[in-house]
Every structure is written in C-alpha cells, then in structure tokens.
C-alpha cells in the first residue's frame, strides 16, 4: 500500500473529485494559449524540414545521406533506436509501476504513454525511409503471394524487429487509448460545447461507467498490463539483436538485450522528466504532479544510471577479457580513444556520472536542474547509440574498408523533422487529450490523506 508519509502527498491542495476533473480538463476547455501556437509553429517548421528531407530521400535515394558501403547504417538507425528507447518510458511507467503498485505513476502514465505512441511513430519512420526501396516495405511481411509463395527469413533480426515494432505500436496505442475512454466520457458529460460532446462522445465508445463496464475494463487492463510487461522487455531486446546477432566487433555481445532495455527505460524516464517538468510549469499541473513525483523519477534514474555505468564497464572488460583483437581494437582504440572518443565520453559522463547528482535531495527538488539533466541524459543516450552504430561499422575487420561517416543535411533534417513531429504530437496531446488519467487520479485521491484513516470519507467542498 502507498505510504504517504514516506513519499509525500500525491495531489496537492484539497480537491474534490469534480475539481480534479475540472482542473485536468482545463487545458481542453480553455482558450489555446499563445505559446502553444508559437511552439506548434516551430514544431511544424521543423517537421517541414523533415518532410523535405524525406522527399529528397524518396526522390533521389538513400545516397543523399552520408552512409556508405562501409558504414551502412548511420543517423537513421541511431535515431530509430533512440526514439524507441524514449518510447519505452510509457510502457515501463504504466506496466512496471503498475506491477510494483506504485500509485504515483497515475499522474504521469498518461503523458508517458502518449509520448510512447508519438515516439514509436517517429522511430518507425527511420527504418522505413532507410530502406533502399521503401515502396516495397511489404516484402518484410510474410503474406501468401504468387511467388511460390516466397516467405521471409525468420532468422533475420530485422524481421523480428519488424514484428516487434508493429506489435509495440499497436499495443501501446490501444493501451493508451483504452485508458482514455473513461476520461473521454467525462469530457462528453461535462463539456458544454456540442461539437466536443459529439467528438469526444464518439471516442468514448458509449462509456457510462457502469459496474459491468468497469469489471471488464479491469480485466482488460489486467491482460494488457500483463502482456505489455513482456513487451517492455522484448521490444528493446529484439532491437538489440539487430546488433547482437551480427558479427561486427562491438556489436556481437550477449550483454546487449538487458543493456538496451535498461538504456531504453533510462532515456524514456529522462524524457518523461522533461515532459513532466514542462506540464508542471506550462499547464499548472503542479498539484497533480508534485515535487514528490519528480523526486520519485529522479530516484529511479539514479538507480538505472548505476546499471548503465556497470554495463559500460562490463562491455569494456569483456572486450579485454575475450582476448579478441577486433573487440579490443573497437573498444580501446576506437571508442575510449580515437576519433570517436568525444561521443564515448559524452555517453559515459551524461549517462553514468551526471545522474549521480540526483543523490542530492536538493538537486532533485530543483526543477531547473532536473530539467537540464534530463535533457543531457537524452543527449547521452543518443551518443550511446552513435557509439554503438558508427564506431563498430566504420572500423571493423579489414582495415582496407575503414571509412568515416558524417551525416548530411538531409539526415540532420530528417532527425530534426522527427523532433518536430514529436513535439507537435505532444502539443496536440496537451491541447486535446486529458494530460492526466482522470479516473485513476480520482481513485488515488482517497490515499491522499493520512493512511491511517484512508478508508474514511475524506472531507471535501460541497458540490455547487
């Protein structure tokens, strides 16, 4: 059971259930603020650059990127893994904290899940555009055909990846959506606008809140939660097999699946922290997302950061311990030192050392510092992927093939475009969808008072 005296209050201010609805729905009912338009404009400009880059990629070919016959994967795959990692936060929040019965997740999980869906969309764009002939992407799908039929290669990690990503996208989207159905019903029933009533009413799928519905809803949540827990582990493990199954030095390691999963959760939590600080400040959700929430996420980050540091050191140790000259070269001459050392140390400092600052309660409570560190962790995680993808490829077995890689404007534009897409998606989420799961917050509002009497009626203002 949740112990308020340990973790602090989950909702600040003494709020009635109705107030909870009103305050959470305030951004939807209110006028769109000016900054929203500005932010949306900036996002769309970024997105337009990305769209232009995609246009160039589609019309001219992947040759417009900086990748070459030695470094076949570049920014696109780095960004793919990075976005997928960020996407992990939603699922991890909802599922792990659900399983661990962490009540504080309720204020954050909606945002985290929304982030997941948008991030996975961004992520999925990369492997698609990265294909030489993206219009034939459906070849990856094992459908009956008139070629014999010719099936696909079930051994290929990319095929696993394809299945995993599509499953992930579908499952996280439905998980997110079904979580919102009762909230949509709340909007339908509280709003005064007819259009909103009709639109949100449609999306509420006829929800009334009857016990029959809640019963099955709980059942569904149980099933989805249970299987999504597997997904949290499986998706990034599978993404890691893209590397781990290959023969490249620096890729071919059994550490990758757990390392990737933890790394994904790490970057996801960092991105959640970024978003949550924004929500807190921009939308005055401070009462629902209290300092205690931020604190809890920071504590988790400290823990994961230690795992990350361990993973980095393990990798290096194993490279030495294996005695393989190719592995040793990759780690000692091409990562720790060498022309990509900046990326390596960027990764190491931002991911393994910087988060250790969160041991200090003072820092955990300073929203600005938390915000900046959360951004730096995401940068560090990007460096990690760069480190894995590029260093291994650029200098592998035969030195005659060694080649450098640097991105072109098209690749950079594509990445910026997905950031624009992500922020536009998040902005739409802020504007049109309840940022916090209303029914869940209402449910935990009873834990908000001293736990000794938490089953007694809480006192609240009368409904006017």
């Amino acid at each position: 059971m949740y112990k308020t005296d340990v973790r602090g209050k989950l909702i600040d201010g003494e709020k009635s259930l109705s107030q909870i609805s009103q305050e959470i729905l305030a951004p939807i009912d209110a006028q769109t603020p000016k900054w929203w338009y500005i932010a949306m404009g900036v996002s769309l400009v970024m997105f337009a650059w990305g769209a232009h880059s995609i246009y160039i990629t589609l019309t001219q070919g992947v040759g417009s990127w900086g990748v070459n016959n030695t470094v076949g994967w570049g920014w696109a795959i780095i960004n793919f893994v990075w976005w997928i990692g960020i996407g992990h936060a939603g699922t991890a929040f909802s599922i792990f904290l659900l399983i661990l019965r962490q009540k504080w997740r309720t204020a954050i999980n909606r945002a985290a899940e929304a982030m997941t869906v948008v991030a996975v969309f961004c992520a999925a764009l990369f492997p698609l555009m990265h294909m030489g002939r993206p219009w034939l992407f459906f070849f990856v799908f094992p459908y009956p055909n008139t070629r014999g039929p010719l099936w696909v290669n079930f051994n290929s990690p990319l095929f696993w990846d394809f299945v995993a990503i599509s499953a992930y996208l579908l499952i996280s989207a439905s998980f997110w959506y079904f979580g919102m159905v009762p909230d949509f019903a709340t909007i339908r029933d509280t709003t005064k606008s007819k259009i909103k009533k009709a639109v949100y009413g449609f999306f509420a799928f006829g929800w009334t809140g009857s016990s029959k519905e809640w019963l099955r809803y709980e059942g569904l949540a149980f099933v989805l939660g249970g299987i999504a827990a597997v997904l949290v582990v499986s998706v990034h493990s599978i993404v890691s097999t893209d590397f781990a199954v290959s023969v490249e030095p620096g890729w071919h390691t059994t550490l990758f699946p757990p390392y990737f999963v933890v790394g994904a959760i790490f970057s996801g939590f960092a991105m959640v922290l970024t978003l949550v600080t924004l929500m807190k400040k921009l939308y005055n959700m401070g009462d629902f997302i209290t300092e205690n929430h931020v604190d809890a996420v920071c504590r988790v980050l400290v823990f994961i950061s230690l795992i990350m540091g361990t993973a980095y050191i393990t990798e290096i140790f194993i490279a030495w311990y294996s005695g393989s000259e190719y592995e040793m070269f990759t780690f000692f001459k091409n990562r720790i030192t060498g022309e990509y050392a900046i990326q390596f140390w960027g990764m190491f400092i931002f991911n393994a050392i910087l988060p250790q600052l969160f041991w200090s309660r003072k820092i955990r409570r300073n929203l600005w510092v938390v915000f900046i560190i959360s951004l730096l962790i995401n940068l560090g995680m990007w460096f990690e992927r760069f480190n894995i993808v590029v260093t291994s490829l650029s200098k592998n077995y035969l030195p005659a093939n060694w080649a450098d890689y640097s991105p072109t404007l098209v690749e950079i534009g594509f990445f910026v475009g997905t950031i624009g897409m992500f922020s536009a998606g998040v902005l739409l989420f802020f504007r049109y969808i309840p940022q916090i799961a209303i029914s869940e917050v209402k449910m935990i509002s009873k834990y908000n008072t001293q736990q000794t009497d938490h089953l007694k009626p809480g006192h609240h203002h009368d409904y006017e």
């Binding site: 070919g61 016959n69 030695t70 076949g72 051994n155 290929s156 290959s246 023969v247 030195p399 005659a400």
Partner: protein, 981 residues
C-alpha cells in the same frame, strides 16, 4: 529493374537498327547544337506530339496497361547468329603503344566484352585494364560522327576530292607532306604508307610516342647497330633489376611481362624457386610494390647507380672499369646476386637517357643475358618513335617547310612538351588533316577531320614483335560515319581496293609463304583469322659492341640536390589517350587507390616536416596539385602522373586532373620524364578533394595478407600460415557442415601471383554491368566494383613492404549476410553460391553491415539513365555495352560478386545439352579469364580432381578471417617474398 534492350527488334536485328537509331540520335543532337532552322520550324508539331504523348502516357499509367513490346524478326537470318547466343571473334588490341591479342564477345551484334586470347605468345590470354575498358571506347558519344571541314560536316566524297586535289597540287610543286602518326606495327599499313609516299614524292613519315622508348632504341642502335627493343623473357629469369621501369604497370608490354614475371614467381605444385626482383625508383609503382628489394632513389641518382653496378660487375668479370659520378647506393650485394645468376638475370631501365641505357646494355652483356633472358630475335615493335624526329618536325613546321600535315592517332598539342608551339605551327600549316577517331587537342586545330573507325570496327594486321603477327577484324559495322585511316590513304593513292582485301592479298604474298602447314591460302587465312595470331620463327644475327659505353659513363651526372618530380604513366589512364573512358577514370590507382585525378605523391617525412596532409594543395613550379602522402616515395621526390588534364576529350575526360606533359624536359635529344630542382610551396588554405577509395594503410597486425619469405617457405611450407591450423582446431559449430550435391563453386587466389594491376576490376565491370558513379561518390566510399584490390603497407613507411589482396564476395558457407536479410533476398544456393536476388531486395543494408569483408555494394542512387551520373549509362549508345545476361540494378538494391553465375549457367546448360560433365577450366569468371598474373583460379570444389581442389589443399591456402568461421568458398595462397636472408 532497368531495361537493357528496349525491344526484341534489337535482339533480332540489332546492327542495322541500332546503327540507324544512333545515327538519328547523333543527327538530332548536332542539329540541336547548331540551332537548325528546320528544327525550329518543326517545333510546333513537336510540341503537339509531345503533348499527345504526355496524355497518352498518363492514360497508360491510369489504366495500368503495359506498353506494347514489338518482336521483329530478321528478313534473312545469318547462320552464325542466334538471338540470345554470343559469338566470339579473335582480334587484336593496339592502342597507346600497348598490344594484346583479344577475343571479342559479340552478343546480338553488339561487342560487349573483351577477353584475352590464349593462343597468343605475347599476351597469353591476359589483358590489361585498358584493354578491358576499350570496348567502352566504341560506344563513346564523344567520337566523331562524320568527316568535318573546319568544324562543318562534309561528305567523304567531297573531302577526298578536295584533299586529293590539294595533295596533287603540292606534289607538283614538291611541297613537303608529313604524316605524323603514333607507332605503326601493321605491316600492311607500312606498305600503304610507303605507297602513299611513292605517289606523294616529298613525304616524310614520323612516328611519335608521347612517352617514348627513344633512349632504348638509340642505345641499341649504338650497341647492336639497329634501333630495337629486345625481347625480355621474365619467365626464364632468376633475378630482375629494374631502374625505374614499371614493367608490371606501364612499361612497354606489361601483360607479357606480368605473365612471365608471375610464372617465374609462382610456387604452386611444389615449385620451390622464385625470381628475385630488385627495384630502384622514386615513386612507389606497381612494380616497386611487388619488388622483393626496393631502393627509393631520386631520378637523377639513377645514372650513377647503374654505373656503380656496371663497375661492380665488371670488377668481378675483370672487365674494364668506367669512371663517372659516384653512386649514393651500395650495390655490392646486388652485384653479387646478379653474378650468381649469370645468364638468368635481366637488368632494365625505364630511363630515356641513352647513356644509362648503354650502361644497362653493358651490364646485360657482362652478365651474358643476351640470347638467354633477353632475346634479340623477337624484338618488340610497339614503340618506334624517336624523340629527335618530332623536334625536327616542329622546327620544320615553324619554318613553314611543311606544306601539309597528316596527323594520325597522335596528339602532340596535348602530349608533347612543346605542345603549345605545335598548336601555333599547325594553325599556320597550309593543309592539316586529322585522321583521328575522337576529338582531341590536335584535331581541334586541323582543317580536315577524317574520323577513323574504332578498332572493333576495323580490319588490321599487326606485328607487335618481330615475326609474331596477328589480325584484327571488325565485329560491328561502323557506328558512325567513319572510315579506317588505311582505307583513306589507299583511296588517296588511287587504289580502288578495300582494306580487307588489301590485307588478305598482303598476307597471301608475305605471310602465307612463311608457313608449311597448308597450301590452301583460304584455309590459312581462315585459321589465322579464327586464331587471331600467326607466329613464325625468327633468327637474329645481331652482335653486341661496347661502342660509346665509356663516353656514356663519363656523361653520367651525379645526383642533383633539391626536390625532383618524377612523371609517370598511370596504370589506368596511361598516356591519356582514353581519358574519356569512365571505367578507366574510376579504376583506382593500384598503389595510391585514387581515381579521377592525378596528384602529387609526396614522401611521408616531407609531409610531416611541412605540415602537409592528403588533399592539401601544393604548387610545383607554379602548377597547383593536390597532395597525397605516399609511403615509399623517395626522399626529396614527388611523383605525378601524366595523361590527365585533357582539354578536348569528352564529357568524362575534360579537365580531369592536370596536364604535366608541358613540363617534360629534353636532354641529349631525348625527353626526360622528370624535373630537377623543383620549387615546391604549400598553397595555404586550399583543399582539393581526392577520390581515395582506401584510406587506411596498415593491416593493424591482423592476419589478413599472410606472408613469409622463400627461405622459410622452403624450410616449412606452412610458414606464414600457421594460424590456419590453429583456427581450424578451434572451430566448433552447432551445425552440420554444408552439403553440396553437385557442384560447389570456389575460387583460389594466389597472392604471390597477384600484382595488383586492376585488370580484374575492369573485366568484372564490363561483364557484370557495374556502374560508374563518379568522383564525388567514390570519395564518399561508395565505389561499385565487385572485386576490389586491397593494398596494405607494412614496416618502414619510407620504404614499406606492400601487399595486394583482391577481395570479392567470399561466398561463405556460413554467410553472416544471409541470416540477417529480412526478405530472403540473399539465400545460399545448392551450388555453394551466395545468391543475391536484386528484385527481392528492399535495401535495408543489414547484409552490408554484417559482411566482415565488406564486399557488398549498394545502389545509393539510380546510376543508369540519370543525368546526375552522366557517364556511360546515360545514353542509349553508352548502354549498348551492357551485358544482356546480367540485370542492370536499380536504385536501392544491394549487389555483389556473383562468381559470374551467368557464365556458370551458360556452360552448365551447354554441358547438359551435350550430355557430358563440365570440363576442368571450362567455366571461367571474368576476373580469372583475363588475369595477366594467372592469380585467380575458379572451379568446382566438389570435384576432387579439379585444379581448385588441389589449390585448396595447398599448405599455403588460407581463408580470409577464418576465425569468424564463415567458411568462405574463396581461398588465398600466402604471399612469399624472395628477400635475401
């Protein structure tokens, strides 16, 4: 995928149809260029047509209907031509002073591939990269489309009429006519020229070679009384000493020398002896990188070293010592080695200095090499130009003594050191006629251009070495309105005979009596034509005299201080005649691995001292050149390739690199291919991008090229390859070894025989429709060559050991690339091939990443029919060289070596039709067929009797990156160096 022929009409009757089409295309283009008024008038209707077509196309797309393909049969089908079946014709290649006997593959009327003719004792089935690429010259849009007068089209009849009239007028006045040609080795042509000279009484014929062998010719004239180039028999030599002669890369008859050299160095089938090769040179050449002992020297030091060697040998033979400048190198070991191998050594020099060549002759005479390893009978004829002749011609031209100048196959304006003076002089000459196939700097100044046909469109007979004859026959009718120069000269002499009949007659009179096999001339002629070669025994009565040798020694100058610039012919571009050939431009230099430019190769130490790095720009005597830091470059020297910086060559060759010909010095009447006391400065802040396709030099201590020395090899044949046993003992697998039912194709590459010349890369390019991608993309490390030659340096960067290793798809039994393809585009075949189904590929590039050898290539762009890649495959004409048996890959798919599966399929089918097993050596891949070093052997590993199975059992055999347990079907035989212990 791309269409490679547009319809079966080409298939059925390509010659005529294509020729007409191409003529039409050319006509349209020239009309467009001149802004023809008729064309303008027609523009409205054209607009309507285009408009109508646009809508029709839209409607086709909308209704998803396929365009209708036509199938047009022959009217009368020639017996020998069956659609879809290739015909092979023997012919000969002689371009840019390089000779090779070739077989031309003609598919549906189009020559598409050149292979080596195994019947020739000269090229012995080998080719050079330039011979392989020459087929593309045929389909070069830059070629002249018809005769021109002052740049205007003219008919042949009119041109002939005008010229004959002018010549007749000159003849009556006794005006001097000069025929300036490159070396002519055609006996019948020589006779025609003689006949022409008989008619045109005051005619002088001058042969001119841009990079001449004047020094050797003059020296031999002094030593033997005749100007000739002797027959170097590398196969019989035990020791070879080369002073700056890149006999494997560019010196005289490279294919022949490579054949002999590698034969004398190969250690297969238990052979335990091997030629030892010493090389003195400034820049690191192909020969130098294959040498066992290499001395980096300045070009000016060479004479003194040769003299020292002469004296060292003369001392031992108690001969007369010569006095001269002192040597900077101790040659006593070398002299001892030579003395131990008397009559079994060859000493050569690439210098054009008559004095040095005289001393070299003296050394060879002292060692008794003449008549043994250096033959005097079958002298090499491919370079006849004497430098003094052209200088005399220039002064004659300037003085106005020459009334008419006929330029045939020569481009002095570009490649003569006094090119500019030539240009001025030609402009002033009363009658200037060019008989050139393609536009160049000289044709641009001639009044008449009477285009010659390509060698694949021409008849010819050749005598590359005395007594060794070969024939050329046309394999396609002239694509453009061209005529052979011989036919033109015949016409002007008034002879009413076509050149084919002339040759036939000539052979009936001269060659037919030389043989006793047949009494039927028709039979003789047909056999000669079918074989391509006709060889007769020669005798020589030449004797050596040491005249002039002591004077030569006294004229040898010592080394000069200051930086010297060595000028050399590059392996790919040669003297620059075919600078417009994109295959050659894209072929990386075997040593520097740079394509598309010439550059200043500077020593490593010099670079560190002066803060220079690759792609910086330096100015040498005012010429700005990009820098390339070349390990092995001799101290105080810089090497720059000739043959670049063409101004009028075509869209590919124009302005590629810098022309260094004008900087060639003339000394003692011969051109010296180096500059002394050069002024070198760094051009600050300037960067010139170079298309370097291999940027890392070192093997990083990895067992990639495994090597040993001969001594160690004799003691222990496994020497250098000890790792293999270790790797095999450690190879543990969960899976059963792959099982092959019928065939298992494999390839063995003898690293001892591979000289790194790059012939295989171009042969593969021609066979497999590999696209040219241009400088920028090569620089982006996206070169498409399916077979690349990795070059590694080891030991001292000032004079490194060099290793070459051809790497293509290894067709691994446990291929890492196959596992990771999601769409099953690259599974393993039942015959052990790693297959690549282009049409299934979606382009994830995962296979590229997971190939430890990085032999997979990606089509980053649409390289065919794309104006951004305006090389060979952007015009219908250029695309005619494509092999119809190989898919032209579209954008976004991965491609790689297929072990020429189309050839395997063809021969298998033939064997099945004939109901017999495949014969040993019947299937040859493009790279193995024409390898001048016989380094590549292809065959069936399932057949225990096959050559390749034996080579795989050789103790030198190893696989690249064995430790990864990829089980390659390609094996390498360790490299053995013959360094003295």
């Amino acid at each position: 995928m791309k269409t490679y022929w547009r319809s079966i009409e080409e298939l059925a009757n390509p010659k005529e149809l294509r020729r007409d089409e191409v003529r039409e295309e050319a006509k349209q283009k020239s009309m467009l260029m001149r802004g023809d008024t008729a064309l303008n008038a027609a523009s409205r209707r054209d607009f309507l047509k285009t408009f109508g077509f646009g809508i029709a196309a839209a409607s086709i797309v909308a209704s998803c209907k396929r365009p209708v393909d036509k199938a047009i049969p022959y009217l009368v089908k020639p017996d020998e031509i069956n659609p879809g079946t290739a015909n092979y014709y023997a012919s000969s290649y002689f371009e840019g002073n390089e000779y090779g006997s070739i077989i031309v593959k003609v598919r549906d009327g189009r020559p598409i591939k050149i292979e080596g003719n195994e019947l020739s004792s000269i090229s012995q089935g080998g080719t050079s990269a330039r011979m392989q690429a020459s087929v593309l010259n045929l389909y070069d849009d830059a070629r002249f489309k018809g005769p021109l007068k002052n740049g205007q089209e003219i008919t042949w009849e009119k041109a002939d009429e005008e010229i004959v009239a002018q010549l007749a007028a000159l003849n009556s006045q006794g005006g001097k006519v000069v025929l300036l040609s490159s070396t002519v080795i055609s006996p019948s042509t020589k006779e025609i020229i003689q006949k022409f000279a008989e008619k045109q009484t005051n005619t002088e014929w001058i042969q001119y070679d841009p990079v001449s062998a004047s020094g050797i010719l003059e020296a031999n004239r002094m030593s033997f009384g005749t100007a000739f180039i002797p027959d170097y028999r590398f196969k019989q030599a035990k020791v070879v000493v080369s002073f700056g002669a890149d006999f494997l890369g560019s010196w005289l008859s490279t294919v022949e020398y490579t054949k002999g050299y590698t034969a004398a160095r190969q250690l297969q089938d238990g052979r335990k002896e091997m030629l030892r090769h010493y090389q003195f040179e400034s820049g690191l050449t192909l020969s130098g990188s294959n040498a066992d002992v290499r001395f980096p020297i300045k070009p000016s030091e060479e004479g003194a070293i040769v003299l020292a060697l002469y004296n060292a040998i003369a001392t031992a033979k108690s001969g007369q010592l010569l006095s001269g400048a002192p040597s900077s190198v101790d040659v006593s070991d070398l002299a001892n080695d030579l003395l131990e191998n008397e009559k079994q050594s060859i000493v050569i020099s690439g210098s054009n200095d008559v004095n040095i060549q005289l001393l070299v002759n003296g050394i060879n005479q002292l060692l008794g090499n003449y008549g043994q390893t250096i033959g005097l009978e079958n002298s090499l004829m491919t370079k006849q130009g004497i430098d003094g002749d052209t200088d005399r011609l220039l002064s004659d031209l300037k003085a106005g003594n020459v009334k008419a100048l006929l330029v045939w196959n020569a481009n002095p304006v570009y490649d003569h050191p006094k090119g500019k003076e030539f240009a001025e002089a030609i402009k002033k000459t009363g009658l200037s006629i060019s008989l050139s196939e393609r536009p160049d700097e000289t044709t641009a100044l001639c009044q008449y251009v009477l285009p010659e046909s390509n060698l694949l469109e021409s008849w010819n007979d050749l005598e590359p070495k005395a007594g060794i004859y070969s024939l050329s026959q046309p394999v396609i009718a002239p694509i453009f309105n061209s005529r052979q120069a011989q036919a033109t000269l015949l016409k002007w002499t008034g002879a009413d005979v076509n050149y084919r009949d002339y040759i036939k007659n000539f052979w009936k009179e001269t060659q037919f009596p030389k043989q006793k096999n047949t009494t039927d001339f028709r039979h003789f002629w047909n056999t000669a034509l079918q074989n391509g070669v006709f060889e007769t025994a020669q005798e020589s009565k030449l004797t050596y005299s040491s005249d002039g040798i002591s004077q030569a020694a006294s004229q040898i100058k010592g080394a000069v201080s200051g930086i010297e610039v060595a000028l050399y012919e590059s392996v790919a571009i040669g003297n620059g005649k075919y600078a417009n050939n994109p295959w050659l431009q894209e072929l990386p230099d075997p040593v520097a691995k740079i394509s598309w430019d010439n550059f200043a190769a500077i020593p490593v130490a010099y670079a560190t001292e002066n803060g220079l790095k690759n792609e910086d720009v330096i100015s040498i005597n005012g010429i700005e050149l990009p820098v390339f830091v070349q390990p092995g470059q001799a101290k105080d020297t810089i090497s720059v390739a000739l043959g670049y910086g063409r101004e009028i060559a075509g869209k590919v060759g124009d302005q590629t690199g810098t022309n260094l010909y004008p900087y060639i010095g003339i000394e003692n009447g011969t051109r010296q291919y180096f500059l002394t006391s050069a002024k070198v400065e760094k051009v600050a802040g300037k960067v010139f991008e170079l298309a370097i396709s291999q940027t890392h030099y070192s093997m990083e201590g990895r067992p990639i090229v495994r090597e040993t020395t001969l001594d160690n090899y004799i003691k222990n044949p496994v020497s250098g390859n000890e790792l293999k046993a270790e790797h095999e003992s450690k190879s543990v697998t969960l899976y059963e070894a792959p099982v092959y039912n019928g065939h298992h194709w494999g390839m063995a590459i003898d690293l001892n025989s591979c000289t790194g010349c790059g012939n295989c890369a171009v042969a593969c390019q021609a066979e497999n429709n590999i696209q040219v991608i241009g400088k920028e993309q090569v620089r982006n490390r996206r070169i498409m060559h399916w077979i690349r030659i990795d070059r590694y340096y080891s030991e001292n960067p000032e004079n490194p050991k060099v290793s070459f290793q051809p790497v293509m798809c290894q067709h691994c039994g446990n291929a890492p690339c196959e596992n990771v393809c999601p769409v099953a585009a690259t599974p393993h075949s039942e015959e052990g091939l790693n297959q690549m189904a282009y049409n299934r590929c979606v382009g994830t590039k995962y296979c590229i990443n997971n190939c430890p050898y990085r032999v997979r290539r990606f089509n980053w762009f649409q390289y065919v029919k794309n104006d951004k890649f305006d090389f060979a495959s952007n015009s219908d004409l250029g695309r005619m060289v494509l092999n119809p048996d190989v898919t032209v890959r579209s954008r976004g798919v991965v491609e790689k070596c297929s072990m020429c599966v189309q050839r395997i399929q063809e021969k298998k089918q033939l064997a099945k039709l004939e109901g017999r097993p495949i014969a040993e050596g019947e299937i040859k891949t493009a790279c193995s067929q024409s390898c001048p070093g016989n380094a590549i052997v292809f065959g069936d590993l399932e057949n225990p009797e096959s050559r390749i199975s034996k080579l795989f059992k050789d103790q030198r055999n190893y696989h690249l990156l064995e430790e990864l347990h990829t089980l390659p079907s390609v094996g390498y035989l360790t490299k053995v160096r013959n360094t003295k212990a």
